[in-house]
């Protein structure tokens, strides 16, 4: 919300308020001042001048030579506009003035000196376009500063009013805050209202739940006219476009009091009867912004006997709008149900200053006050306000609340002891009456704070806020010592992150969203069956919650390649989502995605270029498996997934738990993604992986006898997997066999087709003695014979 310093000064009746001081105390009391603007700065060296002579420029058809009275002296001005006459008052930019970033100086135009410039509204930044220069009316005084004369010599505050303080969406509300903070005595007393006795207007509220109060007054014999310059200036500074006096007054009074007003052309109403009711199915209204609005039940309308004439609390109707011919005005000051207004404004996509205020619930007592203020201003400006009494329809509601405030509770919540007297002083400053009763303070919450001061704690906040948060002392909680810290799961995730970044991978974090198109492209198979869908996505890219980390990580590859970053060892730890089997929430699973692509090693002076392959990725899984499951073996079982290369595709299993998948991205998929390099990807279910970690470890004595290594090379059918061979070796070896390491694998011309040569280095060690060669030879013989028997393997010489 925007308001101005002069307006505040006027309401507070004080002239000694500094702009920065006001900004600071408001910010520090909860109404943050986002911006302080000084509109007059733009108009430095621009004054009111009067044209005292003009004649055509002898050498230019379209230019006029003017002599302009600037009070101090007379100036020669060459002007290109044609909309002025001798005697007109104008906005005169003197040398030194700055218009749209151009500094005005004395110049020669077609041989004639021009000692400044007469400005158009557009040049002054007062409107988007204008024809000719701005002509000022008679009330302007020659020599006066233009900004001051226009009512623009003011300071504008842009405020962020929190949603619990609808009362602060007004100059009066903010003035009340300042009064409390600065100890200025301020009261807004009821001025006394004349309630209509006659039946000149019939108000029918169908549902007081939708409209607790509807007050109105009829003003007669209105002459169409502009509002005064100062009022237009204030409205403009508050970002409201001036229109005509009546409309400007409704806006002005709304800004000042917080009560939205609406003016109807009384004569355009079908009947002297206002009906406030819910809209009917299929009803429509043309609003003053010239749009036809389809109404829905639940929206509140103001209707006459022929149909809706206004969208209550949001926008008036075009048909009964104030216009140049308006003679009689029906002024509405009503109170509408906040949630209804909020829903209607949301579903129509139409927000206004009025709806914004109603949404937050306004004091129903304000209607009469606002009408009175309108009337007073109208009388002051036009010298005339012929009007009816006030027509007022309402359901009596309780708007005063008695609360008990315990000073001891105040201190318990705030920490520092504040005296009962101090507390009462603060409340009284806020125009909240209070009195001491025994140990407690009895508080009467006034109507204008009825919505937000419901409980003792609400009063405690008021006290803290006005006293000043930064005046309270800071103290550590008097905690009984607590251990705190991380669960085993949290520790494992931290450790994983540490390990993976330690071995060269970089951690990415992607959005949880995924599009239908991406899901289809990645052929995620079963995972697309139970997708979690967002019913109001920003756009189709954000429609689903991702069931896999792969698509986003593949996109990371693509995005990096754009910048020629092609070597990407990446990981991500994030949740994937699917519909839960039970309950309404999603099944959320923490996943670890690991992706390798590009070069493992660039060519260097002492190294050859090499590329990541499947076994680099498998090695990472083995590293993790060994770190967290030292007793178990990682086993990859071939299984096809749509997004993986059919041969390089499998599940990873540790012990008897399937912990995830591993593979190479299908060449077709890479092609669709326009990525011309191999991508290896593994996804591990972290919840499974971590939950099964055995955290306790037992020390095993370090071997004291030396080990012996022996090598064997065998030839077997190339289809036999290495884990099968190893299993046979382990089974055949005795307890002395401590290690099996493949150190060579050969397929090719040297050996029979369909066969491969596998060379293993076997480690033997005795737990209680140094082994003799003969013992190891016996082991080797047994292993070889078992390999030959079980796998038809032959020893390769």
């Amino acid at each position: 919300m925007r308001l101005t310093l002069n307006w505040l000064k006027e309401i507070l009746g004080r002239n000694d308020l500094g702009a920065l001081d006001i900004a600071d105390i408001l910010t520090m009391s909860g109404t943050e001042v986002k911006k302080v603007e000084y509109p007059a700065e733009r108009f430095k060296n621009i004054i009111v001048g009067r044209i005292i002579e003009c004649s055509p420029h002898p050498d230019a058809d379209k230019l006029t030579l003017c002599r302009v009275d600037a009070k101090e002296r007379e100036l020669d001005i060459v002007c290109g506009a044609a909309n002025f006459r001798k005697g007109d008052k104008v906005a005169l930019a003197l040398p030194g003035a700055k218009l749209k970033n151009t500094v005005i100086g004395t110049s020669r135009i077609r041989g004639r000196v021009s000692e400044g410039m007469m400005c158009s509204e557009e040049e002054l930044g007062l409107s988007d376009e204008s024809e000719g220069i701005m002509i000022l009316d008679d009330r302007f005084v020659v020599g006066d500063g233009f900004a001051g004369a226009m009512g623009l010599d003011d300071v504008v505050f842009e405020l962020e009013v929190t949603p619990n303080r609808p009362d602060c969406l007004s100059v009066m509300g903010i003035a009340r805050e300042i009064a409390a903070l600065k100890g200025i005595g301020l009261r807004f007393d009821d001025p006394g209202y004349s309630i209509a006795e006659d039946k000149g207007l019939d108000i029918l509220i169908k549902d007081f739940g939708l409209c607790p109060r509807y007050s109105a007054k009829i003003f007669s014999n209105i002459r169409g006219q502009q509002s005064p310059v100062w009022m237009q200036a204030r409205l403009k500074l508050c970002d409201i476009r001036p229109k005509d006096l009546i409309v400007d007054l409704t806006n002005y009074v709304m800004l000042e009091t917080g009560q939205p007003l609406h003016a109807f052309d009384y004569d355009l109403l079908a009947s002297p009867k206002i009906i406030v009711r819910a809209a009917k199915e299929g009803e429509r209204i043309r609003t003053i912004d010239d749009n036809i609005r389809e109404l829905a039940p639940g929206m509140i309308v103001i209707a006459d006997e022929s149909g809706p004439v206004a969208l209550a609390g949001i926008m008036g109707g075009k048909d009964t709008e104030i216009n140049d011919a308006t003679k009689n005005v029906l002024l509405e000051a009503a109170n509408f149900n906040g949630p209804s207004i909020m829903r209607a404004s949301k579903s129509l996509g139409l927000r206004s200053e009025a709806s914004n205020r109603f949404e937050k619930k306004i004091d129903p007592h304000l209607t009469l006050f606002a009408i009175k203020r309108f009337e007073d201003l109208l009388a002051k400006i036009t010298g005339h306000a012929e009007s009816s009494g006030i027509y007022d329809s309402f359901s009596p509601v309780e708007r005063e609340r008695a609360l008990t405030l315990r000073p001891q509770k105040v201190n318990q919540i705030l920490g520092d002891p504040l005296s009962g007297q101090k507390i009462m002083e603060i409340l009284n400053g806020l125009q909240i009456p209070s009195k001491k009763e025994g140990d407690n303070i009895q508080v009467k919450v006034p109507s204008f704070r009825y919505e937000d001061l419901e409980r003792e704690i609400d009063l405690i906040e008021e006290i803290a806020r006005i006293y000043g948060y930064n005046r309270f002392s800071s103290n550590p909680p008097k905690v009984n010592q607590r251990a705190g810290g991380y669960t085993p799961y949290q520790k494992a995730v931290r450790d994983l992150r540490f390990c993976l970044s330690g071995i060269g991978l970089s951690e990415v974090i992607n959005y949880s969203f995924i599009s239908r198109a991406t899901l289809d492209r990645f052929m995620l198979g079963d995972r697309t069956k139970e997708l979690v869908r967002i019913i109001n996505p920003i756009n189709e890219d954000f429609e689903f919650l991702r069931p896999s980390l792969l698509p986003a990580m593949a996109q990371n590859v693509k995005d990096n390649i754009k910048y020629r970053i092609e070597d990407l060892p990446l990981f991500e730890i994030s949740k994937v989502f699917k519909k839960a089997k039970k309950g309404k929430l999603a099944q959320e699973t923490n996943m670890l995605g690991v992706l390798l692509t590009g070069r493992r090693q660039k060519k260097g002076w002492n190294s050859e270029e090499s590329f990541y392959d499947f076994y680099d990725l498998k090695g990472i899984l083995e590293y993790l498996s060994q770190r967290y499951y030292p007793q178990q073996k990682l086993l990859i079982t071939h299984k096809e997934f749509g997004f993986f290369h059919p041969a390089f595709s499998g599940t990873a299993r540790i012990g008897d738990i399937d912990i995830g998948i591993i593979g190479k991205i299908h060449p077709h998929l890479s092609e669709k993604l326009e990525i011309a390099q191999d991508i290896y990807y593994s996804e591990i279910n972290l919840d499974l992986f971590i939950d099964n970690i055995k955290t306790e470890k037992h020390f095993k004595p370090v071997p004291v006898y030396p080990s012996i290594e022996m090598d064997i090379a065998i030839m077997v059918d190339e289809k036999i997997g290495s884990h099968e061979i190893e299993q046979v070796i382990w089974d055949a070896g005795s307890a002395m066999l401590k290690g099996v390491r493949l150190f060579d694998l050969y397929k090719g011309e040297q050996i029979e087709k369909g066969q491969k040569s596998m060379a293993y280095s076997l480690t033997f060690r005795g737990d209680d003695r140094t082994l003799k060669d003969r013992e190891v030879e016996v082991e080797i013989e047994r292993i070889i014979s078992s390999l030959s028997k079980n796998l038809n393997a032959r020893l390769r010489q």
């Binding site: 910010t27 520090m28 909860g30 986002k34 929190t162 949603p163 619990n164 909020m342 318990q412 919540i413 705030l414 920490g415 704690i457 906040e461 803290a464 806020r465 948060y469 930064n470 002392s473 800071s474 103290n475 550590p476 909680p477 905690v479 010592q481 607590r482 251990a483 705190g484 810290g485 991380y486 669960t487 931290r494 992150r497 993976l500 330690g502 060269g504 970089s506 951690e507 990415v508 974090i509 992607n510 959005y511 969203f513 979690v532 967002i534 019913i535 996505p537 920003i538 954000f542 919650l545 995005d559 990446l570 990981f571 730890i573 989502f577 309404k584 999603a586 959320e588 260097g604 002492n606």
Partner: protein, 346 residues
């Protein structure tokens, strides 16, 4: 005659030794030493021939000449060995010095990866709180309206709901707009004292230069006997100083959140302008870093705590914002672009 003979031999040996000493002194390398060795101790040397001819001497002279000759031999051998070892070490040293090594050729670097900046900052903040005795709690990202709004004192039609543009999964299931629902979930399961923080992803339906539809928060909740606003101030001041540096000023501004009362926003003084006002702090000299407040007693009703016995405070801070302020990152979106050149800086 015999004695003369003996004296003669001894004298010639002595002269030979002098010669040896001279030659050895001049020896410049191990090769010279080798030559000297051959010359003075070899088959054709004086000492060799002396010993060879010793049989010709009388039995009285034999031991005298023999003993003396062996003394010379031993002396010469020792001196040769000393000299040789000295020269060898000099020569070896020289050979080492002659090696040409470019010490500035690139080394073989182990691969260095990187934790994500968001993870790093979360871990850092977790460590601060763990040190103060807090536990770390988690909750679902797909959440019910009840936990995200209702139980946080934000019923349907509450004006504060419009501040959170929410992604919905169904009428009453949504993507959590803050980590605060975990407050309720945790209190439902645990009795006070409660000291927790909750890091996690949150979602709002907003996507422009200064908003991403997903971002990261850390929530905090303390509920215990006798917790007051001063405790909130101390805790958050301490944390702000740990994160942003001891020299930062910290201030508390009243604000509004439906689930805390009194509520505050917390600012730290701008490091760039030292409080004078600059572009980064929009001229105010202060940077907002977190929202906080005393837990609204209404929340305790949802979790069956006794408002007269316990009180507490809660706070929430945006991790990306902390990163931006601390590292001078100016585009929020860069956190989720995952450009390796960005990732590797942290």
């Amino acid at each position: 005659m015999q004695e003369n003979k003996a004296e003669e031999i001894l004298k010639s040996l002595e002269e030979e030794y002098k010669d040896f000493s001279e030659s050895l002194k001049e020896a410049e390398n191990t090769k010279d030493v080798e030559n000297i060795k051959v010359r003075f101790l070899g088959k054709k040397s004086l000492v060799s021939s002396t010993l060879k001819n010793i049989g010709k001497l009388s039995s009285e002279l034999k031991p005298v000449v023999g003993k003396n000759t062996n003394v010379y031999i031993k002396k010469m051998e020792e001196e040769l060995a000393r000299k040789e070892s000295r020269l060898k070490s000099i020569e070896f040293d020289k050979k080492l010095r002659e090696e040409i090594v470019d010490l500035n050729l690139p080394g073989r670097k182990p691969k260095a990866g990187s934790k994500n900046i968001i993870s790093s900052v979360i871990e850092e903040i977790e460590d601060i709180f763990a040190g103060m005795g807090f536990d770390i709690a988690q909750g679902p990202e797909v959440e019910t309206d009840y936990y995200n709004f209702e139980a946080l004192n934000t019923p349907q039609d509450h004006p504060a709901r419009s501040l959170h543009d929410t992604f919905f999964i169904s009428d009453d299931v949504l993507l959590r707009t803050h980590t605060s629902p975990v407050q309720i979930r945790y209190m439902e399961k645990h009795k006070p004292p409660v000291y927790i923080i909750v890091p996690g992803k949150v979602y709002r339906r907003d996507y422009d230069v200064s908003h991403t539809p997903m971002f990261t928060q850390i929530e905090g909740l303390v509920v215990d006997k006798g917790i007051n606003f001063g405790n909130l101030k101390w805790t958050l001041e301490t944390v702000a100083h740990k994160i942003f540096g001891k020299d930062r000023k910290v201030r508390f501004r009243p604000h509004y959140f439906p689930f805390t009362e009194p509520s505050a926003e917390v600012d730290v003084s701008c490091r760039i302008c030292e409080g004078a006002g600059c572009r980064v702090c929009s001229g105010s000299g202060w940077l907002e870093i977190l929202g906080a407040g005393m837990v609204d007693p209404n929340l305790y009703r949802f979790v069956d705590y006794d408002t007269e016995k316990v009180s507490g405070f809660a706070f929430g801070l945006g991790i990306e914002r902390v990163c931006m302020l601390r590292y001078g990152i100016d585009d929020l979106r860069s956190f989720f672009e995952n450009d390796l050149r960005f990732l590797k800086q942290f």
